[in-house]
């Protein structure tokens, strides 16, 4: 329980610092910390494979790509004048409404009839990666193939977008 609160505090506070810091590079660093917190949350939920993937793919690949692009483009810090006050007020109101909505919906309880038979905590002891892999290559084989085609399309798209003529 205390572990959950520590990890939740890390991810929320660094998320807040991410959206408030002016310098994009600082933002990326806070974002990495936030993602590490989320990876810890995954660990407390018995999803160790996902925790590792989170660190490797998100922190290791995606955010390094972000850093790379930010430094490549030499972005100046956002202009203070463009941070207009009305926009912030609207954003705060919309955020509060959304938060209220989600909290109300999530406190209505869970339909017990959809409960499965896999005890995730027990699976984590026996080997979470093995269980995930078995499911991935049996029931989820078709989505898995589609996702690999999606990745291929993304590679081709990124190469075409990166050409000089655009």
């Amino acid at each position: 329980m205390p572990l959950f609160f520590v990890l939740a505090a890390i991810s929320v506070i660094s998320g807040l610092l991410m959206i408030t810091s002016r310098n994009p590079v600082t933002s990326v660093i806070w974002m990495i910390l936030s993602l590490m917190g989320v990876a810890g949350i995954f660990l407390t939920l018995g999803a160790e494979f996902l925790a590792i993937i989170q660190v490797l793919v998100y922190a290791g690949a995606i955010l390094v790509l972000f850093l790379f692009i930010i430094m490549l483009l030499n972005l100046r810090a956002e202009l203070v004048a463009s941070h207009t006050l009305p926009q912030k007020v609207v954003a705060a109101i919309l955020g509060a409404v959304l938060l209220y909505e989600v909290v109300v919906v999530s406190s209505t309880g869970v339909e017990e009839s959809v409960k499965g038979t896999v005890d995730v905590a027990k699976v984590a002891v026996q080997g979470n990666s093995e269980a995930v892999a078995r499911l991935l290559f049996s029931d989820f084989l078709f989505p898995f193939e589609i996702v690999s085609v999606l990745l291929l399309v993304a590679i081709v798209g990124a190469i075409i977008l990166g050409r000089k003529e655009f």
Binding site: V38, I41, L45, I62, L65, S106, V114, K115, G116, L136
Partner: protein, 100 residues
């Protein structure tokens, strides 16, 4: 072990932080990062439900979400490089090429 609602509220908080980031920041790259934060918030919900409903399916979906996020980052950052080449700026207030 923290109850399910704690995880859902944490997820809601992160999602709202991402949403406010999208609404307040003006740099396209920051908006993009806020969207990634929102995707992460949804991932927490999936994994929490996977734990409390005794199904591994939620973890599989998160795996696919992470893959799609990686593909999205590659294409999105490609678009940003192309934009920057043409307009010398990533400020979304100045990018109004499609405005009628």
């Amino acid at each position: 072990m923290a109850p399910l609602s704690y995880y859902l509220i944490l997820s809601a908080l992160l999602f709202v932080i991402g949403g406010v980031g999208v609404l307040t920041r003006r740099s396209a790259i920051m908006i993009f990062m806020s969207i990634e934060l929102m995707l992460n918030a949804v991932n927490i919900t999936f994994v929490a439900f996977s734990y409390y409903l005794n199904q591994l399916t939620g973890q599989l979906i998160v795996l696919f979400v992470i893959t799609v996020a990686a593909a999205e980052a590659a294409v999105g950052l490609g678009i940003m490089v192309a934009l920057y080449r043409n307009r010398e700026s990533l400020n979304v207030d100045e990018i109004n090429l499609l405005k009628g």
